[in-house]
């Protein structure tokens, strides 16, 4: 069992958007936790609620139409969902920092890189002198492997390549030694050779600084390569959670299994790809039963009327599927799933 202490604990989180069609729960009763210094991956297809989960933690859900309807986000004994905007601003960028998919959306094109780093520092380090702030900015630029750190501080974002901008974003996120770094698809917009550099950097910083990282991605390769534990999301719910080795070598949930079988592997040629039938559902469109039932080859009557719970299947593994309900196991032939 992992002895590291839990640093962020998300419990029963439900974040909805209130639209003309009523309440659309983008994140629906989500539970997970991150331990100190750990890299946790959240993986899932588009629209499954990955970004809304991270925005909920950061207190950045666009409101209206969005709102955290219920649940707790516990960070150092504080429930972040209960904090005022002012208290949340103190935590954001200081204890918990975030990097986004497209660095240009969070860098201001009108200000130099140095200007933006210094401003971000001033918010949290009010008693620092000018030279302390400048020194820290240069130090962080060097830490993320940017060349000519000092000169680069005078450049504008558009003068940098995509990979360099993402490095600047990481430098900015790490300015105040955050305890948790949330990275939402940090390499999706980058080329693979640059992606490899950035993932290496994130892992390296995680090890050196003991920062916990929540890495959100749709890329199973990125998860396998960087994360210790994985949360798989589908249609706003956590469907499986476990250590990276078990998730990839012995996946339990039919969706996780299907997903892993359907990705082409660069190392060898599969004759034919397994393909999950049907489409990724829109959030809120499936009201009763297991959200995966319409696409699941193991679905049975109960799946269409009842919502499965997240069953504990091993000390550190959970699966939201009736096939793993101890009550079902008696009546059901488990070999179907094991095959």
């Amino acid at each position: 069992m992992d002895e590291r202490k839990t640093i962020l604990d998300v419990k029963g989180l439900r974040t909805s958007f209130f639209t003309d069609d009523g309440e659309v729960p983008a994140v629906d009763n989500v539970d997970f936790h991150i331990r100190q210094g750990e890299v946790l991956g959240i993986v899932g297809e588009s629209g499954c609620g990955k970004s809304v989960t991270s925005l909920s933690i950061m207190g950045l859900v666009p409101s209206p139409p969005g709102k955290i309807v219920s649940g707790e986000i516990l960070f150092q004994d504080k429930d972040l969902t209960k904090l005022s905007d002012k208290e949340m601003r103190q935590i954001r960028g200081d204890d918990i920092a975030m990097i986004f998919q497209e660095p240009m959306t969070s860098l201001n094109p009108l200000f130099t890189i140095g200007n933006q780093l210094r401003e971000a520092l001033k918010i949290h380090k009010k008693d620092w002198s000018k030279s302390q702030i400048q020194e820290r900015a240069v130090e962080m630029m060097k830490l993320v492997g940017l060349p000519r750190a000092e000169a680069l501080l005078n450049d504008y974002p558009h003068q940098l390549s995509g990979g360099m901008r993402q490095r600047v974003m990481i430098a900015m996120a790490l300015l105040c030694d955050p305890k948790v770094l949330i990275a939402d698809e940090p390499t999706t917009a980058l080329d693979v050779t640059i992606q490899a550099q950035i993932l290496k950097l994130i892992k390296n910083l995680n090890e050196r600084l003991d920062t916990a990282v929540l890495l959100i991605t749709h890329d199973l390769g990125v998860v396998a390569e960087t994360c210790e534990r994985v949360v798989v999301m589908y249609a706003g719910k956590v469907v499986e959670e476990g250590p990276v080795h078990t998730i990839f070598n012995d996946p339990q949930h039919p969706y996780t299994r299907g997903l892993l079988e359907s990705v082409p592997d660069m190392r060898f040629k599969k004759e034919r790809l397994y393909s999950i039938p049907g489409n990724v559902p829109k959030p809120g469109s499936i009201k009763v039963g297991c959200k995966y039932a319409a696409r699941c080859e193991f679905a049975f009557d109960r799946c269409r009327v009842e919502d499965p719970a997240l069953y504990q299947t091993a000390e550190d593994h959970k699966t939201r599927c009736f096939l793993f309900d101890p009550k079902e196991a008696e009546s059901h032939d488990r070999t179907v799933v094991e095959s």
């Binding site: 693979v192 592997d265 040629k269």
Partner: protein
């Protein structure tokens, strides 16, 4: 040996770079700079490379959606690069394109029936009744239903829209389909559906594909041969097996070693390359990869390496292999 279906020789596309007050031409972006390759009937040639290396520009030139700056494209014995606009329109019946973003490439105001009917109207194929029948037939072929014909693009999911894009490309019974990132915008579970569909169609309709993508796993899965582009050049081209198992060009080696693999126990052989891709407006001298290459020699910044065969069916542009080549 039979002639290849498509033959590309010395293809170039330079875009002017304009700037300043009067929009004067300041220089050129060498988007595609002297590439040659062929595609055999019934096979799939994959083209991979990082963003901006010239994949789409190459695809568009083959269709003559863009006119090449230089070079020759021969398709089915006919030199496309010398055809007049009206002759080219006719030739396009045999070459069709599938795009990355199925939403942007389907007119939102037209019903699916109208969208699929259009290529038949343009090429004057069949009478109205036959056209309608064909639309329904192809909808079924790509895994949709004929009742979908009356719907509009926004009523479909991304994967379904890509099926419509493929159906549209098939309407004129083409021989060659150029697919530019056809699954890049799709979710993993939907990607597999579309890849399987494309493979089935190839087998049933004897199609030839040029499959452009940046995902090396997808390209390995679908291609018989693969070309790797870097900054407007073809760095390496070989049959899929040799390219992935025995990559020769240092860039291909680096690219393959950078791809994350869905297996936490996998231990990679790391070929780390530094820095970013240089700008194609100001490409490095000699070998365009020399600014990042771990094996760079003196000659590399001075002389452009020849793109030539070093083993049967395996071509590479790199000075490391200069001695291996038949002169």
């Amino acid at each position: 040996m039979t002639e290849p279906l498509l033959k590309v020789e010395g293809l170039k596309k330079y875009f002017p770079v304009t700037g300043g007050m009067f929009g004067r031409v300041k220089g050129q972006v060498k988007a595609v700079d002297d590439i040659s390759f062929y595609v055999n009937e019934g096979e799939t040639l994959g083209i991979v490379g990082e963003s901006g290396c010239g994949k789409s520009t190459t695809g568009r030139m083959l269709m003559r959606l863009l006119d090449p700056t230089e070079g020759k494209v021969t398709f089915d014995g006919q030199e496309l690069t010398s055809l007049s606009a009206s002759e080219m329109r006719k030739a396009r019946r045999d070459i069709q394109m599938v795009f990355q973003d199925p939403y942007a490439s389907l007119n939102p105001r037209h019903s699916i029936e109208k969208i699929l009917m259009e290529p038949l109207n343009v090429h004057n194929i069949g009478d109205p009744k036959e056209r309608k029948r064909k639309v329904h037939e192809f909808l079924e072929i790509v895994g949709l239903s004929s009742y979908h014909a009356k719907r509009y693009p926004h009523q479909f999911s991304g994967g379904q829209r890509q099926r419509i894009g493929i159906a549209r490309a098939l309407m004129t019974n083409p021989k060659l389909i150029i697919a530019d990132e056809p699954v890049s915008a799709l979710d993993v579970s939907i990607q597999a559906q579309v890849l399987n569909l494309m493979q089935d169609l190839q087998r049933d309709l004897k199609l030839t594909y040029i499959f452009i993508a940046h995902d090396l796993g997808v390209v390995r899965h679908i291609s018989d041969r693969v070309g790797v582009m870097y900054l407007g050049n073809m760095a390496e081209l070989a049959d899929t097996e040799s390219l992935y198992e025995k990559p020769l060009h240092p860039y291909t080696q680096a690219l393959l070693s950078a791809v994350p693999v869905p297996d936490p126990d996998f231990v990679r052989e790391e070929v780390v390359i530094k820095g970013d891709v240089p700008s194609p407006a100001n490409p490095p001298s000699g070998c365009r990869f020399h600014t990042r290459c771990p094996f760079k020699m003196d000659i590399c910044s001075q002389e452009i390496p020849r793109f030539a065969e070093v083993e049967p069916g395996h071509s590479v542009a790199c000075h490391l292999y200069e001695e291996c080549r038949p002169q």
